[in-house]
Every structure is written in structure tokens, then in C-alpha cells.
């Protein structure tokens, strides 16, 4: 009776979790939802996405190269022993300070989805999507221009809704007990719906609106390796090269921009059974991508306290943003924390996280609070 009841409770819990998961996943209408990303990316290719699961991002991103459900590296997929899917959701509140004024913004995004499973004992196949470049923004501009010899107030509004999405197919294999390698092919695709509107203060002039869907296309490839130097110490390194990003409007290419090569390295040290530290460093060369592009270096440090996957996560990150005015790249610094909760005997996990970012550049400052919610399901 007790065992039966226990199974019933377990079954009810699984049902509730499944219902929540279904609600969560089916509430995602598309890869993109209308949202606001960094203002620093508007005058550039966009804002690079964070290829991190909630677990990794709650620790400042330090665990991302070791986390199979972060799409940063391919070799980390080797740790997936059963078919597993994971999705990340982020809800952010952002405050932009520019020109002496402050504007609050909100947005929702689902930046990472990964599903992976082993093909055999040594090889794991993974696929999914992540946000490569966020192109969602909306700006309003008030001005007065001289038309027909008369000053006329105008309001311009340009909104862009969409992103460049990285569709990834990866393979990871363990060569021996202490070395694993991975590689992936990346198809960059996606589109933005751009609406540019000018409204005149003089109603003799009609409001003008231009609409277009800008489609993006590019390719990329990535390789990575994972070394288990000791049972407690792991290091990793990765390299990724991306082609040009072509932008098409109605089938006509309107822009083609170089995409950066990126590389990085990380280390994870399990100090105790319930204490893990990690740190990463990554470089990307954006200078050829846009006139205001900068090479970026980003670092992160984080820890997970408690059972792996279910503990308390803390982290810090810092580095640079790729696009900004002036000779120096805008900078970013963030702190994050989060919790994970496994359920159904480890077949599912919900992760919560919160992240605070401060971005600073010439003429613009941003403060971002992001609530992260992740769901990992192993059917």
C-alpha cells in the first residue's frame, strides 16, 4: 500500500512536472519573442547571444564549456548518457541610460535549446539552436526638421524583431578515459521584421511606414576538446570559425559581413563532492564585422555548491561587448546566482537563476536584471 502510494505520488509529481514542462515548452511560440536586447548591438551586427544553459549562466557562464546543455562546446556532449532535452528561458528588465535620460525596457527570450543522446557508448549526437546575434530592438527619436521652409516636428521609430539563430548539429566522442573531442556544424539562419515609421507633427504630412523582413544566412564550424587531467580537474579548449553573414531583403543581398573566429579555454575543479569551481576565458575578433567592431575578451568564474546539477550556483563574468563607439570596446560585468532542483529520480531538472549585468560604453550605460528559467527533461 505504501509502495503503491509512493508510486502514485511519484507518478503525480511526474505528471505535474510534465504538465509544467509542456506548458512551458508549448508557451514558446518560436525561437524568438519580441524583446529588447542591448543597445550596444543596434549599430552593429547585433548583440551576441549567450550560449549557456541556466545552470551555466547562473554560475557566470563558467561551467558553459563543460555543460552539455550549453551550446558553447561540442565535446561536452560526451557526458550525455541518455536522450535528454533542455531549454532555457530568460526574462529581462533593462534600464538604458543615454543622453541624460533613462528608459526601462523589458523582454523575453528563449536563447538556448539542446537535445542530445548517445549513438553508442562513445559517440553522442547533439542538436539544437541558440541565439547567435540578437537583432531585436526598438528606438524612438524626436526631432524637428525643415520641410517646405517650415520647421516640422517628427518622430521616427525603428523596430527590429528577430535574431540570427545558430542551428547546430554536433558529434562528440570519447577517445579514451581522459580525452574527448567534439565538432559541430552551424547553420546561421533567421530573420528580422523591421519596421521604420516617421510620424509628422503636422498632419498635412502622412505617416510613412516601411516594412521588410531581412533574412540572414551563414555557416560555421566548431571543434573542441575536453581533457580529464585528474578525476577532479577538467580543462577544455574550443575554436569556432564562422563565414560571412549575408542579409537578404526580398531575395536581394543587401549586406554581407564577416563573422568572427572565436576560441577559448576553461577549467573545472571539483574541490569536494559538493563543491566545484570553474573558470573560462574566450576571445572573438569582431573588428572585421563592422566599422565599430572590437575584439573581445570575456572571462567568467563560478562555483556550484551542492550535488552536481542540483546545487547553489554563484558566478561572476566580465569582458567586452563587440560593438560600440570609440576606440575602446564597451565593457560588461555581471553577477549571477541560481538553484537547480532535480525531480523524478533525476529524469528532470528545473533550474532557476538570476543575473545582473552592468554594461558601460561611450555615451551609454545599461543595467540588466535577468530571470532565468531552465527545464531539462530526460524521458
Amino acid at each position: 500500500m505504501t509502495r503503491a502510494g509512493g508510486r502514485g505520488m511519484a507518478g503525480g509529481r511526474v505528471g505535474a512536472i510534465a504538465a509544467l514542462a509542456i506548458a512551458f515548452l508549448t508557451a514558446i511560440p518560436a525561437v524568438r519573442l519580441r524583446a529588447q536586447d542591448s543597445q550596444f548591438g543596434i549599430n552593429g551586427l547585433g548583440t551576441p547571444g549567450k550560449w549557456e544553459s541556466v545552470r551555466a549562466r547562473s554560475a557566470g557562464g563558467a561551467f558553459a564549456p563543460f555543460d552539455p546543455f550549453s551550446s558553447l562546446t561540442d565535446a561536452s556532449l560526451v557526458d550525455v548518457r541518455r536522450l535528454t532535452g533542455s531549454i532555457t528561458g530568460a526574462m529581462s528588465r533593462r534600464t538604458v541610460q543615454a543622453n541624460g535620460s533613462e528608459a526601462p525596457l523589458r523582454g523575453t527570450r528563449f536563447p538556448v535549446f539542446v537535445v542530445a543522446g548517445p549513438l553508442n557508448r562513445r559517440i553522442v549526437l547533439g542538436a539544437g539552436f541558440s541565439t547567435y546575434l540578437d537583432r531585436t530592438f526598438g528606438i524612438g527619436l524626436h526631432d524637428t526638421i525643415d520641410i517646405r521652409g517650415t520647421p516640422v516636428p517628427i518622430t521616427d521609430q525603428v523596430t527590429s524583431d528577430g535574431a540570427v539563430t545558430d542551428l547546430r548539429v554536433s558529434l562528440a566522442g570519447r577517445l579514451n578515459r581522459w580525452i574527448a573531442i567534439g565538432g559541430g556544424f552551424h547553420l546561421l539562419t533567421g530573420s528580422t521584421r523591421v519596421v521604420a515609421t516617421r510620424t509628422f507633427g503636422d498632419t498635412s504630412y502622412r505617416t510613412t511606414t516601411f516594412r521588410a523582413q531581412v533574412a540572414y544566412r551563414g555557416e560555421g564550424a566548431s571543434v573542441s576538446t575536453l581533457l580529464d587531467l585528474t578525476p577532479a580537474l577538467r580543462v577544455t579548449g574550443w575554436y569556432r570559425a564562422d563565414s560571412k553573414l549575408d542579409a537578404d531583403v526580398l531575395g536581394k543581398m543587401v549586406a554581407s559581413n564577416d563573422l568572427p573566429n572565436s576560441y577559448g579555454a576553461g577549467a573545472q575543479w571539483r574541490l569536494a563532492s559538493e563543491l566545484t569551481l570553474a573558470g573560462t576565458a574566450a576571445w572573438r575578433d569582431w573588428t572585421a564585422s563592422a566599422p565599430n567592431g572590437h575584439n573581445t575578451f570575456n572571462w567568467s568564474l563560478g562555483t556550484e555548491i551542492g550535488a552536481p546539477g542540483s546545487g547553489l550556483r554563484l558566478g561572476a563574468r566580465g569582458g567586452q561587448m563587440p560593438f560600440g563607439a570609440g576606440a575602446a570596446a564597451p565593457t560588461e560585468f555581471g553577477l549571477s546566482a541560481g538553484l537547480g532542483k532535480q525531480f523524478s529520480a533525476g529524469r528532470g531538472r528545473i533550474d532557476f537563476g538570476i543575473e545582473h549585468l552592468e554594461r558601460s560604453g561611450t555615451g551609454l550605460n545599461e543595467s540588466v536584471w535577468t530571470f532565468l528559467l531552465g527545464l531539462t527533461v530526460r524521458p
Binding site: 523589458r106 523575453t108 524612438g140 524626436h142 523591421v194 498635412s204 502622412r206 516601411f210 543587401v254 561611450t362
Partner: protein, 435 residues
């Protein structure tokens, strides 16, 4: 799990709300592309413009203009009523005998739909005209009748200066307060005093019913004032029932065969005109190489537009203004200002081009003002750019048509220095996708 579910419920609404737009810190943190407005006057896009006359005749107009501006214009209205019967059936049960009527009096109603309220000593004079007056009648042929003694004169200014009669009996009879004098002239007003209904009372000596005239009556109207003598009288072409009316009050006698006594019955018959029009002097100049709008019979101008290719492809027109240079100012009473409207044509077949019936632009033309005329045609031109199947031509016409001696003459494309132009403000296509 309950806590998790609760948390999801809390954050769910947050996920559904957003504030997407922030003030732009341009140009540093704005898209490279910007919205650019450009302003240009196209002086050679109005082509093959022509004028045609004869769309609305004066007897089809909604109003007749009576004006007397010495040295400028003398316009006179006239009408011929329908036939009045001379016998009547009493309507008594079983009585089918046609009995002769005897006219007691006549009431004339005219409606002034437009007048210069600044006019002083404004008078209308009624003249007797031959019932043969028709569309062939001219100012000259009718002039002898208009220069003979009038039947009566109605001093509008003097009567309006009197106190209105507002007692309940009067209001019940007339429907509103009235202004009147001792000579049988009465005024009621409508539209806050802008429209005047004038009532004359005539006897049979003033307005006789003449068998030789087929029991029709011809009347002419002249206006006089110390200045600004111009009125528009509602005509048969009006959509209202305010056209001239002549009401005949009559009586007839029925003899009682039993008692041998006569009983007198009264009746009234209101007749509308069978024809109304107006004549004026000096006559309008004939059509020439210029563009003409208005006049009698009404003239319209057809303007064809050859838009440059760049306006069709890559810009959005936010304002389009037609520029017309008058040959001369329209002379007349200030109150005779009128509107010119533009209407798109469905197919360009010249003078008889069918139009859309939708006014796409209008402008008021004031008397004695030679200023350049500017008419907004934004919606029309935007439609041309959006729908390239549309005929890129429009017709200019007067509002109301053929109701006045007034007409406007503009320089056409045949006069290069003053030809019509199109002032276009457009926004260039936004450079999508460029970083």
C-alpha cells in the same frame, strides 16, 4: 512543486509584457540607416492638361446667383412656374363637377442659401418675366423685363433689423420665430441665420393668372444693396425642397341644390418652377489655352500626371500639393467665393472621363485674390504610387457647379513659366539590412 507552479504563474505575465522602444542615442547607438525626407517641386509632371465646358447647365444647378456689383458683374435669376389649374372638383361626396376657381392671393417663397451678411440695405426685387423664358434666354433678351417696374421689393436688411415675432401662435403657424413688415414680407431663418426663407404676399393684380400664358407665371429676381449685393437662391437642382415655390390661394362656390344657397370653399395650390436659371453680364470669356474651372455652363479641367519613375519605386510620398497659378483674380462679390475640388478619373477618355466621385482635394477660391492656389493631393498621389493600375489623371471642378458666374482660370502646361506643378515631399525607402 506547488511553489514552482506558483512561481511560474507569477513570472508568466512578466513574460507576456514588454516595452520594446527606447529613446534613440543617435547616431552612435542607432541603426546606420535613417529615415530621410526630401522635398521637391516637380514642374514638368502635369502634362496634356485640357479644359472642357458643358458639364452642368445653369438650369441644372443647385442655386441661382443674383449679384449686382457695378462695373463687375450683374447676375439675375429667373424662373417659370408650372401650370396652375383654373377649375377644381369640390371633393364633396358625389360631386364630380369641375368648378371655376377665383384666385384670392399668391405667396412666393424664395430661399437664400448664401448671402454676404455684411451687406446693408439688401433688397430683392421681383419682376414679371415672359413664361417663354428658357435656356435660350440671355441677359440681353431679358434685360427689358428686368429694367421695367418691379412687382415688389423685399428689403431683407430692414426686416431683419426689426424685432422677431416669437409668440406661440406665430411659432405654431410658421414653425419658428419670424421677421415681418406691414407689406406682407416675412422671413424665417434656418441654420443659425445663415439661410433665409423669404415669403412675399401678392395680390392678383401683382401676379395675375393669365390663360394666355397657359396659367404659368414667369418671375425674375434682382438684388440690390448699398454694397456687397450678392445672394444665391436655392434652385431646382438642389437636393433640398427649398427651391422657389408659388402658392395660389383660391376659392370656389358650390350651390346647394336643396337650399339653393351658395357655399364658398377655399383652397391652396403650391407650384414649383418648371424651369429656373440665371443670366449675367458680362459674359464669360471662351475657353482658351488656359485651364478653366467653373463658370456657366460649368467647365472642368483634366490634368494628367506623369510621375517620374523614382517616385513609383523606392519612396513613400507623405505630401503632395498641386500648385496652380491663376491667370487673373476672380472678380465679384466677396461672398461669391467658391471651392475647387479635384476628383480622380477612372479612365482617361478626355472630356467624358468617368470620375471616381471621391473628392481627393479641395481649396477655396476667394474673390479678387490673385494668389497661387495650392491644393493637397496627397491621398490621390499616394494611391497612384501604390496602385499602378490607376489612371494618373484628375479633374478639377467647381463646387457647386454652374451656380454662379464665377470661374477660375489657371495657366496651363502651355505656359512654361507658370505651368502647374506638383510639390512633393517624400521619404526615401529605409535601407533595410545594412549595418
Amino acid at each position: 512543486m506547488r511553489y514552482l507552479a506558483g512561481l511560474l504563474l507569477v513570472v508568466g505575465p512578466i513574460a507576456c509584457t514588454e516595452v520594446p522602444t527606447a529613446p534613440g542615442a543617435c547616431p552612435t547607438f542607432c541603426p546606420n540607416g535613417s529615415i530621410e525626407s526630401t522635398d521637391t517641386i516637380l514642374t514638368d509632371v502635369i502634362v496634356r492638361d485640357s479644359s472642357y465646358r458643358g458639364y452642368v447647365q445653369p438650369y441644372q444647378a443647385e442655386a441661382m446667383t443674383a449679384t449686382d456689383i457695378p462695373g463687375v458683374i450683374d447676375s439675375r435669376a429667373f424662373f417659370v412656374t408650372n401650370k396652375m389649374f383654373r377649375t377644381v372638383v369640390s371633393g364633396l361626396p358625389g360631386d364630380t363637377v369641375q368648378r371655376p376657381i377665383s384666385i384670392d392671393s399668391v405667396r412666393l417663397r424664395l430661399t437664400i442659401m448664401r448671402r454676404d451678411t455684411g451687406a446693408t440695405n439688401l433688397r430683392l426685387r421681383v419682376y414679371s418675366l415672359p413664361v417663354t423664358s428658357d435656356s435660350n434666354s440671355t441677359f440681353q433678351t431679358l434685360d427689358p423685363y428686368f429694367t421695367s417696374a418691379p412687382i415688389d421689393s423685399f428689403n431683407i436688411s430692414a426686416i431683419l433689423a426689426k424685432a422677431p415675432i416669437t409668440d406661440t401662435v406665430t411659432k405654431r403657424m410658421w414653425g419658428d420665430s419670424i421677421w415681418t413688415d406691414s407689406a406682407g414680407h416675412t422671413i424665417t431663418v434656418a441654420d443659425s441665420g445663415r439661410i433665409l426663407h423669404l415669403y412675399w404676399r401678392f395680390d392678383t393684380l401683382q401676379v395675375p393668372l393669365v390663360d394666355a400664358d397657359s396659367n404659368e407665371v414667369g418671375m425674375g429676381i434682382r438684388v440690390a444693396a448699398d454694397s456687397l449685393a450678392s445672394v444665391s437662391i436655392t434652385a431646382l437642382g438642389s437636393t433640398t425642397t427649398d427651391h422657389p415655390q408659388l402658392t395660389w390661394y383660391y376659392q370656389f362656390t358650390v350651390r346647394d341644390t336643396a337650399s339653393g344657397k351658395d357655399s364658398v370653399h377655399i383652397g391652396a395650390q403650391t407650384l414649383a418652377p418648371q424651369f429656373n436659371s440665371f443670366v449675367f453680364n458680362p459674359p464669360l470669356p471662351p475657353l482658351d489655352s488656359n485651364l478653366v474651372v467653373g463658370g456657366v455652363p460649368s467647365a472642368r479641367s483634366l490634368l494628367r500626371v506623369a510621375l517620374p519613375a523614382y517616385l513609383k519605386d523606392s519612396v513613400d510620398i507623405v505630401r503632395a500639393t498641386l500648385i496652380l497659378v491663376p491667370v487673373e483674380a476672380v472678380r465679384g462679390a466677396p461672398a461669391d467665393s467658391f471651392q475647387i475640388r479635384s476628383v480622380g478619373v477612372l479612365a482617361d477618355v478626355g472630356a467624358k472621363s468617368p470620375n471616381t466621385g471621391v473628392t481627393t482635394g479641395k481649396v477655396t477660391i476667394h474673390m479678387n485674390a490673385p494668389d497661387t492656389v495650392r491644393m493637397e493631393l496627397t491621398d490621390l498621389v499616394r494611391n497612384w504610387v501604390t496602385d499602378t493600375t490607376q489612371t494618373r489623371a484628375f479633374m478639377l471642378g467647381q463646387v457647386p457647379e454652374a451656380a454662379s458666374y464665377t470661374q477660375m482660370r489657371f495657366y496651363s502646361s502651355r505656359t512654361p513659366a507658370f505651368r502647374p506643378g506638383l510639390h512633393i515631399t517624400y521619404v526615401k525607402r529605409y535601407p533595410f539590412g545594412r549595418q
